[in-house]
Amino acid sequence: MAAKSWKEWEKPLIELEDALAKLVERSKIAPEAERAEIEAKVAEYERRRDHYIDVMYSRLGPWEKVLVARAEKRPYTLDYVQALFTDFIELDGDRRYGADHAIVGGPAMFEGRPVMVVGHQKGRNIQERQYRNFAMAKPEGYRKAMRLFEMANRFGLPVVTFVDTPAADPGVESEARGISEALAASMLRMFELRVPTISVVVGEGGSGGALAIAVANSILMQEHAIYSVIPPEGCAAILWRAPEKAPQASAALRLTAQSALELGLIDEILPEPRGGAHRDPAEAAAIIREALRTELSDQSKRTGDQLKAERYEKFRAMGHLISPPVEQPPLIA
């Protein structure tokens, strides 16, 4: 029986880590005579922990990746914003209807250079999750994102997006205010941009709600992130009328970063620290920093027209056809 949550799956490891933490505490206050023994035990526990991590994380199946990508300890967009940027000033509002806290964004400095950051934001406790609507943005969220994309374009700021959402908000209000139009329009706006664009999938790349802010020249995915056309539970419900078969569905959907790279749909997999980004958020951020630096300097050598044309070509080439494609029409001047 497959685990249902990250906590369930990592349980033996989490218990070991807790025991280890207690042991370390004890070693600090233990009398001199016992210390050597406790320290030996600590070393033994650490060895076992590392072994557990290596075994568990060296053969993560697709379903385990889903669990890790959804782990509530995983660093979220604002964690990375704090680690990677300075002077972040959050800007809010779609100027049309309302505030949406499932998507955050604003200008920030990256290594001395201003960029526009936009990303989905999850919450860590019940209150936060409700406030963030589980990172399921409504039309307002995407319209805010569009506003920030356009502003970045006007002022020549590169756009960096962090993707981490189960899906766009499916509620009645969102439908009434045109969630589908908001998703489509956001993609369309991203295709118009004449500035460098980089998207990093850091957790759940949940279908259209993810793609709407991921139309970028460089698409990077963390090692244990997922990206899928449909949640595995939804896929299982449709195919087998059995949402509990989500583990099988996640295998069939090939939603891992490794599969996305094989299919040629992303550019690079960013390795995660031993045992996942949640075990060492600072190290995970450092790896993203390195990639952003490379991508930004690389894309900055191109003109706005080149960036726009290359973005088009990149997505234009996505797909799997048996018949050889005919030559595509020339670029419109």
Binding site: G171, R316, Q328
Partner: protein, 258 residues
């Protein structure tokens, strides 16, 4: 084919011949039954004007997704097409247009690599030749059997719409029952003009998903043509028998600058 059939809306018994003559619209309740793509083309465009393009495009099974091959082959046999989109050149009241028409009978009109490629080529032709594009949608959304490849067709087709915008080629989209999820949330919703047949199902997530997400009060007309019209999300509700004339007028007026 039997001489009688039952309306899917009001369940009344209809004469098959009369039903066909009425463009598969129930004479009692006005229910618009789904049309195969090729029938739609025949009753929409000028006689003998349609020239099919890209009919040879065919999907593989890039994910080796269970049962995909079999389902697709069954759909091919049922519809006589390699995929859910039939596309090409046609004329509307003498105006040359490009068109793409979705067929619900082919795996629920779902969009995989081939549908995405056909839509994209259709829109690129419109942009390149600066002629109107007229697209009819009927689709459950992106085709999950092609996984992330299907999702990316949303971006690809939307990019082609952006090209039409830049080129000044008008793009008219007609939503027919159902127009959902990945298709609605991509090229369909960013058309210059959006028309819809009455009482079609139109929405991002199925009503079941909305309920699961804890949405308690779902209005009776939720995700219908009338719902999206009343919320300002489409331009007009057009009954099937008026569609051709509406399209002819639109391409004549909007297609002039091109």
């Amino acid at each position: 084919m039997s001489a009688f059939l039952q309306c899917a809306g009001c369940k009344k018994i209809l004469f098959a011949a009369e039903f066909e003559q009425n463009l598969r619209v129930c004479q009692y309740c006005g229910h618009h039954h789904r049309l195969p793509a090729r029938d739609r083309i025949l009753l929409t465009f000028d006689p003998d004007s349609f020239v099919e393009m890209d009919a040879e495009l065919r999907s593989g099974n890039p994910l080796q997704f269970p049962d995909y091959q079999e389902k697709r082959e069954a759909a091919e046999a049922k519809t006589g097409s390699f995929d859910s989109i039939v596309s090409g050149y046609a004329a509307l009241g003498g105006v040359r247009v490009v068109t793409a028409v979705s067929d619900f009978a082919f795996m629920g009109g779902s969009m995989g690599s081939v549908a995405g490629e056909k839509i994209t080529r259709t829109l690129e032709r419109a942009a390149e030749e600066r002629i109107p594009a007229v697209i009819f949608t009927t689709s459950g959304g992106a085709r999950m059997q092609e996984g992330l490849l299907s999702l990316m067709q949303m971006a690809k087709t939307t990019a082609a719409v952006q090209r039409c915008n830049e080129a000044g080629a008008p793009y008219i989209c007609v939503f027919t029952d159902p127009t959902m999820a990945g298709v609605l949330a991509s090229y369909a919703s960013v058309a210059d003009v959006i028309l819809a047949e009455p009482k079609a199902l139109i929405g991002l997530a199925g009503a079941r998903v909305s309920k699961q997400a804890g949405v308690s009060k779902i209005p009776d007309d939720f995700q219908t043509t009338e719902f999206v019209f009343n919320h300002g999300l489409i331009d007009r509700i057009v009954p099937r028998k008026e569609l051709r004339n509406t399209l002819v007028s639109l391409v004549r007026m909007l297609g002039n600058a091109a």
